[in-house]
Protein backbone atom coordinates (compact mmCIF):
# COMPACT_ATOMS: atom_id res chain seq x y z
CA UNK A 1 0.00 0.00 0.00
CA UNK A 2 1.30 3.45 -0.73
CA UNK A 3 2.39 5.94 1.88
CA UNK A 4 -0.67 8.02 1.10
CA UNK A 5 -3.05 5.17 1.81
CA UNK A 6 -1.27 4.54 5.13
CA UNK A 7 -2.35 7.92 6.36
CA UNK A 8 -5.92 6.70 6.91
CA UNK A 9 -7.65 9.84 5.70
CA UNK A 10 -6.44 9.68 2.11
CA UNK A 11 -9.69 8.58 0.62
CA UNK A 12 -11.94 11.07 2.29
CA UNK A 13 -13.91 13.04 -0.27
CA UNK A 14 -13.37 16.77 -0.02
CA UNK A 15 -15.59 19.47 -1.36
CA UNK A 16 -12.65 21.05 -3.18
CA UNK A 17 -12.61 17.99 -5.49
CA UNK A 18 -16.10 18.83 -6.74
CA UNK A 19 -16.41 19.85 -10.37
CA UNK A 20 -19.84 21.38 -10.07
CA UNK A 21 -22.16 18.72 -11.45
CA UNK A 22 -24.24 16.89 -8.84
CA UNK A 23 -24.33 13.55 -10.69
CA UNK A 24 -20.62 13.45 -11.51
CA UNK A 25 -19.59 14.65 -8.05
CA UNK A 26 -21.77 11.95 -6.48
CA UNK A 27 -20.09 9.31 -8.64
CA UNK A 28 -16.64 10.64 -7.74
CA UNK A 29 -17.59 10.54 -4.09
CA UNK A 30 -18.69 6.92 -4.47
CA UNK A 31 -15.34 5.96 -5.97
CA UNK A 32 -13.63 7.53 -2.97
CA UNK A 33 -16.06 5.66 -0.74
CA UNK A 34 -15.15 2.39 -2.44
CA UNK A 35 -11.45 3.05 -1.84
CA UNK A 36 -12.14 3.92 1.79
CA UNK A 37 -14.14 0.74 2.19
CA UNK A 38 -11.31 -1.36 0.75
CA UNK A 39 -8.83 0.33 3.02
CA UNK A 40 -11.02 -0.23 6.09
CA UNK A 41 -11.55 -3.88 5.17
CA UNK A 42 -7.78 -4.33 4.92
CA UNK A 43 -7.20 -2.73 8.30
CA UNK A 44 -9.87 -4.96 9.86
CA UNK A 45 -8.63 -8.11 8.11
CA UNK A 46 -11.95 -8.44 6.31
CA UNK A 47 -10.84 -7.96 2.74
CA UNK A 48 -11.89 -11.51 1.80
CA UNK A 49 -15.57 -10.57 2.06
CA UNK A 50 -15.40 -7.40 -0.03
CA UNK A 51 -12.66 -7.93 -2.59
CA UNK A 52 -14.59 -10.15 -5.02
CA UNK A 53 -17.67 -7.88 -5.10
CA UNK A 54 -15.38 -4.87 -5.52
CA UNK A 55 -13.43 -6.49 -8.35
CA UNK A 56 -16.63 -7.45 -10.12
CA UNK A 57 -18.10 -3.96 -9.75
CA UNK A 58 -15.20 -1.73 -10.75
CA UNK A 59 -15.26 -2.16 -14.55
CA UNK A 60 -18.99 -1.37 -14.54
CA UNK A 61 -18.58 1.60 -12.20
CA UNK A 62 -15.77 2.99 -14.32
CA UNK A 63 -17.68 2.51 -17.57
CA UNK A 64 -20.88 4.14 -16.29
CA UNK A 65 -18.99 7.01 -14.70
CA UNK A 66 -16.86 7.75 -17.75
CA UNK A 67 -19.91 7.67 -20.02
CA UNK A 68 -21.75 10.17 -17.80
CA UNK A 69 -18.69 12.34 -17.35
CA UNK A 70 -17.96 12.55 -21.08
CA UNK A 71 -21.56 13.61 -21.65
CA UNK A 72 -21.10 16.32 -19.01
CA UNK A 73 -17.83 17.57 -20.57
CA UNK A 74 -19.56 17.67 -23.92
CA UNK A 75 -22.41 19.70 -22.43
CA UNK A 76 -20.08 22.30 -20.93
CA UNK A 77 -17.95 22.37 -24.08
CA UNK A 78 -14.66 21.26 -22.54
CA UNK A 79 -11.91 21.81 -25.13
CA UNK A 80 -10.10 18.77 -23.69
CA UNK A 81 -12.89 16.31 -24.38
CA UNK A 82 -10.98 14.30 -26.99
CA UNK A 83 -7.85 13.98 -24.84
CA UNK A 84 -9.98 13.17 -21.83
CA UNK A 85 -11.81 10.41 -23.69
CA UNK A 86 -8.45 8.88 -24.59
CA UNK A 87 -7.47 8.91 -20.91
CA UNK A 88 -10.76 7.24 -20.07
CA UNK A 89 -10.16 4.49 -22.62
CA UNK A 90 -6.76 3.76 -21.09
CA UNK A 91 -8.07 3.70 -17.50
CA UNK A 92 -11.10 1.58 -18.41
CA UNK A 93 -8.89 -0.96 -20.19
CA UNK A 94 -6.59 -1.09 -17.20
CA UNK A 95 -9.55 -1.56 -14.87
CA UNK A 96 -10.80 -4.52 -16.86
CA UNK A 97 -7.36 -6.09 -17.15
CA UNK A 98 -6.44 -5.54 -13.52
CA UNK A 99 -9.69 -6.77 -12.02
CA UNK A 100 -9.53 -9.94 -14.11
CA UNK A 101 -5.90 -10.52 -13.10
CA UNK A 102 -6.61 -9.96 -9.40
CA UNK A 103 -9.46 -12.44 -9.19
CA UNK A 104 -6.96 -15.27 -8.80
CA UNK A 105 -4.89 -13.49 -6.14
CA UNK A 106 -5.25 -13.97 -2.36
CA UNK A 107 -7.83 -11.46 -1.07
CA UNK A 108 -5.44 -9.27 0.92
CA UNK A 109 -2.96 -8.98 -1.96
CA UNK A 110 -5.75 -8.28 -4.43
CA UNK A 111 -7.17 -5.62 -2.11
CA UNK A 112 -3.80 -3.88 -1.67
CA UNK A 113 -3.14 -3.85 -5.43
CA UNK A 114 -6.65 -2.69 -6.25
CA UNK A 115 -6.46 0.07 -3.66
CA UNK A 116 -3.11 1.18 -5.04
CA UNK A 117 -4.55 1.32 -8.56
CA UNK A 118 -7.62 3.23 -7.38
CA UNK A 119 -5.42 5.78 -5.66
CA UNK A 120 -2.71 6.26 -8.26
CA UNK A 121 -4.88 6.08 -11.36
CA UNK A 122 -8.55 6.71 -10.76
CA UNK A 123 -8.61 9.09 -7.81
CA UNK A 124 -5.63 11.07 -9.08
CA UNK A 125 -7.45 11.36 -12.40
CA UNK A 126 -10.52 12.71 -10.59
CA UNK A 127 -8.58 15.21 -8.54
CA UNK A 128 -6.39 16.44 -11.40
CA UNK A 129 -7.53 15.76 -14.95
CA UNK A 130 -11.27 16.07 -14.33
CA UNK A 131 -10.92 19.42 -12.63
CA UNK A 132 -8.59 20.67 -15.35
CA UNK A 133 -11.08 19.64 -18.02
CA UNK A 134 -13.79 21.66 -16.28
CA UNK A 135 -11.52 24.60 -15.55
CA UNK A 136 -10.47 24.88 -19.20
CA UNK A 137 -14.11 24.92 -20.25
CA UNK A 138 -14.69 27.79 -17.86
CA UNK A 139 -11.51 29.52 -19.04
CA UNK A 140 -12.69 29.15 -22.59
CA UNK A 141 -15.96 30.82 -21.62
CA UNK A 142 -14.00 33.62 -19.97
CA UNK A 143 -11.75 33.90 -23.00
CA UNK A 144 -14.73 34.18 -25.31
CA UNK A 145 -16.11 36.94 -23.14
CA UNK A 146 -12.70 38.66 -23.05
CA UNK A 147 -12.33 38.27 -26.79
CA UNK A 148 -15.63 39.94 -27.28
CA UNK A 149 -14.34 42.64 -25.00
CA UNK A 150 -11.11 42.85 -27.01
CA UNK A 151 -8.75 41.07 -24.61
CA UNK A 152 -8.51 37.38 -25.46
CA UNK A 153 -6.59 35.05 -23.13
CA UNK A 154 -5.38 31.54 -23.66
CA UNK A 155 -5.35 28.59 -21.24
CA UNK A 156 -2.88 25.74 -21.34
CA UNK A 157 -3.15 22.41 -19.62
CA UNK A 158 -0.46 19.82 -19.03
CA UNK A 159 -2.02 16.35 -19.02
CA UNK A 160 1.31 14.73 -18.19
CA UNK A 161 0.38 15.26 -14.52
CA UNK A 162 -2.39 12.74 -14.96
CA UNK A 163 -0.29 10.22 -16.81
CA UNK A 164 2.42 10.48 -14.20
CA UNK A 165 -0.05 9.92 -11.44
CA UNK A 166 0.55 13.39 -10.07
Amino acid sequence: MSALADSGATFRWQQEYAIGDAQIDAQHEELFELARLLEASLRQNKSSSVIQPALSAIPLLVHVHFRDEEAFFERIGSPLLTQHKALHVRIAEEALWLTNALRQQPPAIAAVRLLDWLETQLLVHIVNADRIAVATAHRQDDAEVSERQGGARKGRVDFSRDRDGG
Binding site: E33, L37, P53, S56, A57, P59, L60
Partner: protein, 206 residues
Amino acid sequence: MKPLNLGRLHALVVEDNVHMSTLIRIVLKALGVGRISVAEDGADAFKYIKSLNIDFIITDWNMSPLDGIDLARLIRTGKDSPDPFLPIIMLTGHTEMNRVFEARDAGVDEFIAKPFSAKAVYMRVENIVLKRRPFVKSMSYFGPDRRRQVIPGYRGPKRRESDHFAAAAIRDAAQNAKAAAAASPVVVVDPKAMSQTEVAALLGHD
Protein backbone atom coordinates in the same frame (compact mmCIF):
# COMPACT_ATOMS: atom_id res chain seq x y z
CA MET B 1 -32.27 -7.72 -25.96
CA LYS B 2 -31.08 -4.47 -24.41
CA PRO B 3 -30.32 -4.11 -20.71
CA LEU B 4 -33.07 -2.77 -18.50
CA ASN B 5 -33.37 0.80 -17.45
CA LEU B 6 -33.94 0.51 -13.72
CA GLY B 7 -33.99 4.25 -13.15
CA ARG B 8 -37.49 4.37 -11.73
CA LEU B 9 -37.03 1.54 -9.29
CA HIS B 10 -36.56 2.06 -5.56
CA ALA B 11 -34.46 -0.65 -3.91
CA LEU B 12 -34.10 -1.32 -0.20
CA VAL B 13 -30.81 -2.87 0.93
CA VAL B 14 -31.10 -4.60 4.30
CA GLU B 15 -27.63 -5.32 5.66
CA ASP B 16 -25.97 -4.70 9.03
CA ASN B 17 -22.42 -4.84 7.66
CA VAL B 18 -21.62 -1.34 6.47
CA HIS B 19 -18.95 -2.55 4.01
CA MET B 20 -21.38 -4.90 2.37
CA SER B 21 -24.29 -2.45 2.26
CA THR B 22 -22.02 0.19 0.72
CA LEU B 23 -20.87 -2.23 -1.96
CA ILE B 24 -24.40 -3.34 -2.80
CA ARG B 25 -25.58 0.26 -2.93
CA ILE B 26 -22.72 1.25 -5.26
CA VAL B 27 -23.36 -1.75 -7.52
CA LEU B 28 -27.10 -1.06 -7.70
CA LYS B 29 -26.42 2.56 -8.54
CA ALA B 30 -24.01 1.57 -11.29
CA LEU B 31 -26.66 -0.78 -12.67
CA GLY B 32 -28.93 2.26 -12.91
CA VAL B 33 -31.32 1.72 -10.00
CA GLY B 34 -32.84 5.15 -9.40
CA ARG B 35 -33.34 5.19 -5.62
CA ILE B 36 -31.62 3.09 -3.00
CA SER B 37 -32.41 3.07 0.71
CA VAL B 38 -30.47 1.16 3.33
CA ALA B 39 -31.78 -0.46 6.53
CA GLU B 40 -29.61 -2.11 9.15
CA ASP B 41 -31.92 -4.95 10.16
CA GLY B 42 -35.26 -6.55 9.41
CA ALA B 43 -37.22 -4.43 11.87
CA ASP B 44 -35.89 -1.20 10.35
CA ALA B 45 -36.57 -2.58 6.89
CA PHE B 46 -40.19 -3.35 7.70
CA LYS B 47 -40.67 0.26 8.81
CA TYR B 48 -39.17 1.47 5.52
CA ILE B 49 -41.40 -0.83 3.51
CA LYS B 50 -44.43 0.58 5.29
CA SER B 51 -43.46 4.18 4.73
CA LEU B 52 -41.69 4.19 1.34
CA ASN B 53 -42.68 2.84 -2.05
CA ILE B 54 -40.07 0.11 -2.24
CA ASP B 55 -39.97 -1.91 -5.49
CA PHE B 56 -37.66 -4.70 -4.34
CA ILE B 57 -35.38 -5.58 -1.44
CA ILE B 58 -31.97 -7.18 -1.19
CA THR B 59 -31.57 -8.56 2.30
CA ASP B 60 -28.85 -10.25 4.28
CA TRP B 61 -29.78 -13.35 6.28
CA ASN B 62 -28.01 -12.82 9.64
CA MET B 63 -29.22 -9.70 11.37
CA SER B 64 -30.54 -8.81 14.77
CA PRO B 65 -33.18 -8.40 16.14
CA LEU B 66 -35.08 -9.47 13.00
CA ASP B 67 -33.14 -11.54 10.46
CA GLY B 68 -33.70 -11.85 6.71
CA ILE B 69 -35.88 -14.94 6.98
CA ASP B 70 -38.11 -13.34 9.61
CA LEU B 71 -38.37 -10.27 7.41
CA ALA B 72 -39.38 -12.37 4.38
CA ARG B 73 -42.07 -14.15 6.43
CA LEU B 74 -43.31 -10.84 7.78
CA ILE B 75 -43.57 -9.38 4.29
CA ARG B 76 -45.32 -12.42 2.81
CA THR B 77 -47.71 -13.35 5.60
CA GLY B 78 -47.67 -10.61 8.23
CA LYS B 79 -51.12 -9.20 8.96
CA ASP B 80 -49.79 -5.67 8.67
CA SER B 81 -47.62 -6.32 5.63
CA PRO B 82 -47.98 -3.41 3.23
CA ASP B 83 -46.95 -5.48 0.20
CA PRO B 84 -47.01 -9.30 0.39
CA PHE B 85 -45.90 -9.45 -3.25
CA LEU B 86 -42.72 -7.39 -2.75
CA PRO B 87 -39.78 -9.05 -4.59
CA ILE B 88 -37.17 -10.31 -2.12
CA ILE B 89 -33.58 -11.15 -3.01
CA MET B 90 -31.66 -12.92 -0.26
CA LEU B 91 -27.92 -12.30 -0.02
CA THR B 92 -26.12 -14.76 2.20
CA GLY B 93 -23.09 -16.88 2.87
CA HIS B 94 -25.38 -19.76 3.86
CA THR B 95 -25.46 -21.87 0.74
CA GLU B 96 -26.21 -25.27 2.30
CA MET B 97 -29.23 -26.92 0.69
CA ASN B 98 -31.33 -26.84 3.87
CA ARG B 99 -30.71 -23.10 4.20
CA VAL B 100 -31.67 -22.52 0.57
CA PHE B 101 -34.91 -24.45 1.17
CA GLU B 102 -35.56 -22.43 4.33
CA ALA B 103 -35.21 -19.17 2.39
CA ARG B 104 -37.34 -20.50 -0.44
CA ASP B 105 -40.05 -21.60 2.01
CA ALA B 106 -40.08 -18.15 3.60
CA GLY B 107 -41.08 -16.73 0.21
CA VAL B 108 -37.74 -15.46 -1.05
CA ASP B 109 -37.69 -14.85 -4.82
CA GLU B 110 -33.98 -15.05 -5.56
CA PHE B 111 -30.80 -16.07 -3.81
CA ILE B 112 -27.31 -14.53 -4.12
CA ALA B 113 -24.35 -16.29 -2.53
CA LYS B 114 -21.59 -14.29 -0.86
CA PRO B 115 -19.11 -13.18 -2.00
CA PHE B 116 -21.48 -11.69 -4.54
CA SER B 117 -20.61 -10.33 -7.96
CA ALA B 118 -22.10 -7.39 -9.81
CA LYS B 119 -23.23 -9.84 -12.47
CA ALA B 120 -25.13 -11.97 -9.93
CA VAL B 121 -26.93 -8.88 -8.66
CA TYR B 122 -27.82 -7.79 -12.20
CA MET B 123 -29.14 -11.25 -13.12
CA ARG B 124 -31.31 -11.55 -10.00
CA VAL B 125 -32.75 -8.08 -10.51
CA GLU B 126 -33.41 -8.96 -14.14
CA ASN B 127 -35.19 -12.12 -12.99
CA ILE B 128 -37.56 -10.30 -10.65
CA VAL B 129 -38.30 -7.68 -13.29
CA LEU B 130 -38.67 -9.82 -16.39
CA LYS B 131 -39.10 -13.42 -15.30
CA ARG B 132 -40.79 -13.28 -11.94
CA ARG B 133 -42.51 -16.50 -10.95
CA PRO B 134 -46.25 -16.33 -10.28
CA PHE B 135 -47.43 -16.38 -6.68
CA VAL B 136 -49.11 -19.40 -5.16
CA LYS B 137 -50.88 -20.03 -1.87
CA SER B 138 -51.17 -23.34 -0.10
CA MET B 139 -52.14 -24.21 3.47
CA SER B 140 -48.58 -23.57 4.61
CA TYR B 141 -47.01 -21.30 2.02
CA PHE B 142 -47.54 -17.99 0.32
CA GLY B 143 -44.97 -16.66 -2.12
CA PRO B 144 -43.39 -17.15 -5.53
CA ASP B 145 -44.01 -20.54 -7.10
CA ARG B 146 -41.34 -22.84 -5.66
CA ARG B 147 -41.63 -25.17 -8.62
CA ARG B 148 -39.15 -23.73 -11.05
CA GLN B 149 -39.69 -26.66 -13.38
CA VAL B 150 -42.81 -28.32 -14.72
CA ILE B 151 -42.43 -32.05 -14.36
CA PRO B 152 -44.58 -33.87 -16.91
CA GLY B 153 -46.61 -36.67 -15.35
CA TYR B 154 -46.06 -35.43 -11.75
CA ARG B 155 -47.87 -37.80 -9.38
CA GLY B 156 -46.88 -36.42 -5.99
CA PRO B 157 -49.11 -34.68 -3.49
CA LYS B 158 -50.91 -31.54 -4.62
CA ARG B 159 -51.05 -29.12 -1.76
CA ARG B 160 -51.99 -25.84 -3.35
CA GLU B 161 -55.43 -24.41 -2.75
CA SER B 162 -55.74 -23.92 -6.48
CA ASP B 163 -55.04 -27.62 -6.96
CA HIS B 164 -58.20 -28.48 -5.03
CA PHE B 165 -60.75 -25.74 -5.41
CA ALA B 166 -61.30 -22.46 -7.13
CA ALA B 167 -59.41 -20.01 -4.93
CA ALA B 168 -60.69 -17.18 -7.05
CA ALA B 169 -59.70 -14.38 -4.74
CA ILE B 170 -56.13 -15.61 -4.42
CA ARG B 171 -55.76 -16.21 -8.13
CA ASP B 172 -57.24 -12.83 -8.90
CA ALA B 173 -54.89 -11.10 -6.50
CA ALA B 174 -51.88 -12.82 -8.00
CA GLN B 175 -53.07 -12.16 -11.54
CA ASN B 176 -53.84 -8.54 -10.75
CA ALA B 177 -50.38 -8.06 -9.29
CA LYS B 178 -48.84 -9.68 -12.35
CA ALA B 179 -50.93 -7.57 -14.71
CA ALA B 180 -50.04 -4.42 -12.78
CA ALA B 181 -46.37 -5.32 -12.96
CA ALA B 182 -46.65 -5.98 -16.71
CA ALA B 183 -48.43 -2.70 -17.32
CA SER B 184 -46.12 -0.72 -15.07
CA PRO B 185 -44.08 1.96 -16.82
CA VAL B 186 -41.25 1.37 -14.37
CA VAL B 187 -39.17 -0.78 -16.68
CA VAL B 188 -38.43 0.49 -20.13
CA VAL B 189 -35.66 -0.11 -22.57
CA ASP B 190 -33.14 2.68 -22.44
CA PRO B 191 -32.01 3.55 -25.97
CA LYS B 192 -28.79 5.02 -24.59
CA ALA B 193 -28.01 1.92 -22.59
CA MET B 194 -25.14 -0.40 -23.30
CA SER B 195 -25.61 -3.45 -25.46
CA GLN B 196 -26.05 -6.82 -23.79
CA THR B 197 -22.58 -7.80 -24.97
CA GLU B 198 -21.08 -4.69 -23.39
CA VAL B 199 -22.83 -5.34 -20.10
CA ALA B 200 -21.70 -8.98 -20.11
CA ALA B 201 -18.09 -7.94 -20.76
CA LEU B 202 -18.12 -5.38 -17.95
CA LEU B 203 -19.81 -7.59 -15.43
CA GLY B 204 -17.32 -10.35 -16.09
CA HIS B 205 -17.58 -13.65 -14.30
CA ASP B 206 -20.31 -14.64 -11.87
